[in-house]
């Protein structure tokens, strides 16, 4: 009895070991590429929000969220020729089907510059439309869901179905994303009030 158990355990361990080696090989071949994707996605998003900026200071440690459900992952004080043109805040908060991460840009005059969706694990065809560049909440003006935040005042309510147009059949997603933008904006204002850097 003991002998068969040992043998079975050994066989199972052997299969698991070979599988581990296989995974390790694939991982080591792709890890660099995946990290590079994440890095270039962030850089592209920063460029999309502040096209004029030519550099940034990482000020991640200096911002904190006033909303306990939402965490500020990183913040970048965007510079052009050495002067600040605004701040980009990366924030993660709960949404439908798991956490969502947004990168939102704010200018010193308390306006939203632009919002970009970095990570969203939502239902394809429904909530995932928040990150879809050809899904318009307003077809006539070709405004996307994150696009509608541009130019909004941080003091606004940011409530889905009121001053934020919700995605059809995805009210929870719309509400959660609006809350993340709002929390990012409030954190940015605290930073601006301190006089930036």
């Amino acid at each position: 009895m003991n002998k068969t158990m040992l043998k079975l355990g050994f066989v199972l361990a052997l299969f698991a070991g070979v599988a581990c080696v296989g995974l390790a090989v694939v991982h080591s071949l792709t890890a660099e590429k995946i990290a590079a994707h994440a890095q270039s996605a962030l850089e592209n998003a920063l460029k999309e929000i502040f096209p004029g900026a030519d550099g940034f200071d990482d000020v991640s440690g200096e911002l904190s969220s006033l909303d306990e459900r939402i965490t500020i992952g990183a913040a970048y004080d965007m510079k052009k020729d050495g002067t600040s043109v605004g701040i980009a805040v990366q924030a993660t908060g709960p949404s439908y089907n798991g956490a969502a991460t947004l990168l939102s840009g704010f200018s010193a005059d308390k306006k939203v510059v632009r919002v970009v969706v970095l990570d969203l694990k939502d239902t394809p065809g429904l909530g995932a439309n928040a990150a879809n560049a050809t899904y318009y909440v307003d077809r006539a003006s070709r405004t996307t869901f994150p696009g509608q935040f541009s130019g909004k005042d941080i003091g606004d309510a940011f409530e889905a179905k009121k001053d934020v147009v919700a995605i059809t059949a995805s009210t929870i997603t719309s509400r959660s994303l609006a809350a993340i933008v709002k929390a990012s904006g409030e954190a940015a204002m605290v930073y601006f009030a301190k006089g930036g850097r």
């Binding site: 590429k33 429904l126 995932a128």
Partner: protein, 206 residues
């Protein structure tokens, strides 16, 4: 030769994994909201099915019967994780769209079912043919469903506008109830095809 051909062919209609055996349905209804997702899911699924059936079939004589299930899971999970990592590295957009459904290939009953019912008893050549046949059967139903649902529910195919601008998309087809309805219609279509295929040998039922 004849046996090999029939192993390949029967997965397409007569024993279609989705419409006749009816396994692996959760992810099928969930991902078929757009054609790109349907194609991505099919690619990942067929790759894992093919590799798992081949490996299990090659090692079937050294896998002890009473721990075969854990070993199948280890093999399937390893291939699924590889697909997940490779997609993240080379097709980041697709990987983002597929979300949780790629890791869920691990528990897709089609793979477990074919490995247990077929690959663990047959030689490697037959196992590969079985995986390919089942893959084609899975592909046409899954991609067919996603074409219907994206076209009617969003007016597009692969993101390109097909329906005229005046067409008001029927959101119902993208939502889960629409998924069930479209799936039911594909089951009916598959039975009709099976009737045609078998002719006089068709004995009724699904």
């Amino acid at each position: 030769m004849n046996k090999a051909l029939s192993i390949f062919l029967r997965g397409i209609v007569i024993e279609n994994p989705l419409a006749i055996i009816m396994i692996g349905l959760c992810s099928s209804v969930a991902v078929t909201t757009s054609v790109a997702n349907g194609i991505g899911m099919t690619a990942g699924m067929v790759f894992v099915l093919l590799c798992s059936e081949l490996i299990i079939s090659l090692f079937r004589k050294v896998i002890p019967g009473n721990i075969r299930m854990p070993i199948f899971i280890v093999v399937i999970a390893a291939f699924t994780t590889m697909v997940d990592i490779i997609m993240q590295a080379y097709f980041p957009d697709l990987s983002e769209a597929m979300g949780v459904f790629i890791p869920l290939i691990v528990v897709n009953c089609i793979i477990m079912g074919r490995v247990e019912a077929f690959a663990s008893r047959e030689n490697a050549g037959h196992a590969v043919l079985d995986a390919l046949g089942m893959g084609v059967g899975y592909a046409w139903v899954l991609i067919g469903m996603s074409v219907v649902r994206e076209l009617l529910g969003n007016g597009t195919i692969l993101g390109f506008q097909i329906m005229p601008e005046s067409y008001q998309p029927v959101l119902f087809f993208v939502l889960p109830p629409g998924g069930f309805l479209v799936f039911a219609l594909f089951i009916a279509l598959n039975i009709a095809l099976k009737k045609l295929w078998l002719g006089q040998d068709y004995k009724g039922g699904k």
